[in-house]
Amino acid sequence: MSTPECSSLTSIADDILSLARKGKAGACAVRVGSTTSRKVVHRDGQWEELQGSTTLGATVRLFVDGRYAVHRTSDLRPESLAAFLTEAIGLTRQVMPDEHRKLPEPSLYAPKTPPALELADPAVSQLTLERRKQAALAAFTACRDKLGDKGISVAATFADSRSLGCIAHSDGFASSLEDTSCTISATAAVMDPGGGRPSDWAYSSACHLADLVDPAKIGAHAAERALRAIGAKKIDTGSYELLVENRACGQLLSGLLNPLFGSAIFNKQSWAADLAGLPVAASILTITDDPLVVRGLGSRTYDGEGLGARRLPVFDQGVLRGFYIDTYYGSRLGRAATTGSPSNLVVTPGASDFPQLLSRVKRGLWINRFIGGNNNGTTGDFSMGLGGFLVENGRIVHPVIELNLSANHKTFWHQLAAVGSDVLVNSSVRTPSLLFAPILVAGK
């Protein structure tokens, strides 16, 4: 990227590197980023929010006399940077030395010519307030019309952003990235004769404007989802198959991934630390961390510390293969660094589409959302509230409330019975729906 905007970010980064050198910092890594965001929210005939902003800031990672600290500022005027660096170096000297704090291994850096991932769409920067309002209004109108007199409130949002980032290290590494994103969403609340006011939402999100789903479809879908939530009932504690909707799977997957991070392994808070090469899930589960998905919402050419984007096999046919290890924890653990942060989590799809998965369920739950809950990364225990529908003999019976699932990740993923073909492309978690064999669910 060689736009004037980008070279102005790069020159700020170079100034910071030169100031760090003058201040006798042993090494320095700078990221300078600028983001422009816009958002419009229409609710019930009014513009509830019209928002806009541009941010510009620098994050400076300093390595001074074997000590390490990170500093951030949004004041990038040349006259302010010198004072900022002096102070940042002074503060870095106050922490204690740690030989494991260092810049990445140069061979892992992103290449000079990164792959073209089509993450920036010029059409996003050219959007006008009127276009944004039209999109939100279209979603709002479709949603309200579909709800009819059962609707209480409808809100529709159009949001977009454009980010420019550059990274420069004192060892000569430098790279930059531009990306855009846009999102249309609708939320509908409806009256349940039973007294509740259930709501649900739908959305579409993409890097390119042309990849967004038609706003009217999003609005109508939000309405359908809210309407079908009417009439929720509690059900008995018992054993149920679980069919988890693709967009809800992210929360489940995060509990599976948390123990794969270097910090968790090093602090002995990882139930999976010693399971590399062993089956942790059923053999139908294959997950790859893939930063190179073209137009992917989690795609990137380098990570936060400049490590080049590489595909990381995490689970291969159920066998644990990959861990999220940054430079610091790699040094601590004596392992090669991969990356410290996930990009796109790609679950390899199976052969069955959603209707086929649903038809397989004899007595189970179709889970649309998890409510709260948490994971114990050390032991693998987890417990989460469930929202969704009772399913009997492949047919959706009624919505359910006040249900909770408690299990342990070490055994739970072996219960995986089928992986759908309905991959979610609206998210950096690119997963289809997942079907699990019967498990105890707490109800009444």
């Binding site: 806009g52 990672r61 102070e87 990137r300 948490n374 409330i401 707490a442």
Partner: protein
């Protein structure tokens, strides 16, 4: 493990892609982001003279021009919110304080309201051009003839619930490093402890609000928090837990007594897990321990009583004002006036003085929590609940410190009343769907109750219930009210704000315990 997040699930996740990457991709070190600066040189508006205000570089004439631009399309109200925030964080691993983080956050938000609609824009540069651009963007919410701001603006006098000034920047790094080293040594005195990790955070936020009604206020808001996590090993088995505390107070918050408590509670909460069993599945009586059990109020009641949800009629408490929603001995307040607490605030982020707001009085629902927009909609006075995460966000109705007052019952009698049930003691997070009323909270430590006594410890179990039904099912409230000092952050519409919780011992006759055995 997610810590101390209290969220509502009503809104689609509108974290944009860039924010998501920021959260996920920080090559930094600490879960808590923070910073520190001992001189104001890092700001766009340096002090003119010793003892001067950073806002001195914002002359009245400039403010008047920004207000004029913001109201140029006929907005009925506008406010400017200038903020400078210094943050410092320190991280400990392997018994060394081996990472630091500092940040100076500086910027201004411009808000224009027209007929209940909000235009909002912020800038990270305080020069005239950037401020006028932000004002113009916010003004897009209206489309009429210019309106006028009242000038000059008069500064409000604020109460004093916490120290102001260079509360943390005047403290050298050494005692902060020393605090972590001392706590590490104290926790490691237990021989089964194999890992200890800690983070320390402090911030000074300086606020200047000025609005078109001719009002202004300045506040300086300190905040500190500390988190300790420990992993212990016994017979090849690992267990970990953590402890955190927070206050809007100075460094003297970390008194010798508090330091002892941090170390002993971290150990007690971790070591008891070796004896813990999985909890049961199904409906059982629940006894809530005093203190952080206030999470029940926050999720089951508090969010549903935020007035933006009443305005859109999406909360389950819509149209319930004046009705009995709990037994006579239940009184619940949301209070920003308690000295030194994490959720306390001199004035909310739109200039309304903080107050003690009674939500539920002797079982009767009295009021929603209002910001300026909702109060105007309902023709009521604001309750001082219009809060925001920073200048990057517009204010919306938010809780402060939410708690239930002490009741008539003895804690021992409450426990004795339960034949078979659950005692919930510590929590990590909760969530609520405000329309359906379904809420959850995650119990990290608890006990089974058998024949009116605490028996086997339990762990890692989520509770799920329905707000209004749980309130109706409160059967006893203890006389042992306790305010919690945990580092609770409440998330709503993409904004996190610090809040407090408090509770006496309390019994609920029946709720779904989400365990893994029958």
């Amino acid at each position: 493990m997610t810590e101390t997040l209290l969220t509502i699930s009503e809104d689609p996740l509108l974290i944009d892609r860039r924010n998501f990457l920021k959260l996920a991709g920080a090559a930094g070190t600490l879960g808590l982001l923070a910073a520190h600066c001992t001189q104001p040189g890092g700001a766009t508006t340096p002090d003119r003279k010793p003892g001067g205000q950073w806002t001195d570089a914002l002359p009245d004439a400039l403010i008047a021009r920004v207000l004029e631009k913001a109201l140029s399309t006929g907005g009925s109200y506008c406010d400017l919110y200038f903020q400078r925030r210094r943050m410092l964080a320190l991280g400990l691993e392997e018994s060394i304080v081996n990472s630091g983080y500092s940040n100076i956050d500086l910027g201004a938000g411009v808000r224009v309201i027209k007929d209940g609609q909000t235009g909002y824009a912020f800038t990270e540069s305080l020069d005239e051009k950037s401020l006028l651009e932000a004002a113009e963007m916010a003004a897009a919410v209206a489309a009429g003839n210019p309106s006028r701001a009242k000038t000059p603006h008069h500064a409000s006098r604020l109460p004093s619930y916490y120290p102001t000034g260079p509360v943390f920047s005047s403290v050298a790094p050494e005692p902060k490093v020393g605090l972590l080293m001392e706590l590490d040594a104290a926790v490691r005195r237990e021989p089964s402890v194999v890992k200890v990790a800690m983070s320390y955070y402090d911030e000074e936020s300086s606020i200047f609000h000025v609005d078109s009604l001719g009002r202004s206020f300045r506040d300086e808001q300190p905040m500190t928090m500390l988190r300790v996590s420990a992993t212990a090993e016994k017979k090849g088995r690992l267990e970990s837990n953590s402890y955190n505390c927070s206050a809007r107070a100075g460094f003297d918050f970390y008194s010798p007594e508090r330091r002892r408590r941090i170390a002993s509670e971290t150990l007690r909460r971790t070591l008891v897990l070796f004896d813990a069993v999985p909890g049961p599945a199904g409906e059982f009586p629940l006894v809530l321990a005093p203190g952080s059990s206030g999470i029940l109020l926050h999720e089951a009641i508090g969010h549903g009583m935020e007035a933006d949800f009443a305005k859109s009629k999406t909360t389950i408490y819509t149209d319930k004002i004046g009705q009995r929603i709990a037994p006579e001995f239940v009184t619940i307040v949301d209070d920003g006036t308690l000295p030194g607490l994490r959720g306390s605030i001199h004035a909310d982020d739109e200039g309304e003085k903080s107050q003690r707001t009674v939500l539920v009085e002797n079982g009767i629902f009295r009021t929603f929590l209002h910001d300026r927009i909702s109060a105007e909609h309902f023709g009521l006075a604001p309750t001082g609940n219009g809060r925001r995460e920073s200048f990057r966000h517009m204010p919306i109705p938010r809780m402060r410190n939410t708690y239930m007052l002490a009741g008539p019952h003895k804690p021992s009698d409450i426990l004795a009343s339960v034949k078979k049930g659950i005692y919930a003691e510590t929590f990590t997070n909760g969530q609520v769907a405000i329309g359906a009323g379904d809420f959850t909270f995650y119990i990290k430590n608890g006990f089974l109750i058998e024949d009116g006594k605490l028996s086997t410890p339990i762990k890692d179990i989520n509770i799920i219930g329905n707000g209004p039904r749980v309130l109706e099912n409160v059967t006893m409230v203890g006389d042992d009210f306790t305010m919690d000092d945990g580092a609770w952050t409440c998330g709503k519409r993409g904004q996190g704000v610090p809040v407090g919780l408090g509770m006496p011992t309390c019994a609920v006759s029946s709720i779904t315990i989400g365990g893994s055995r029958r």
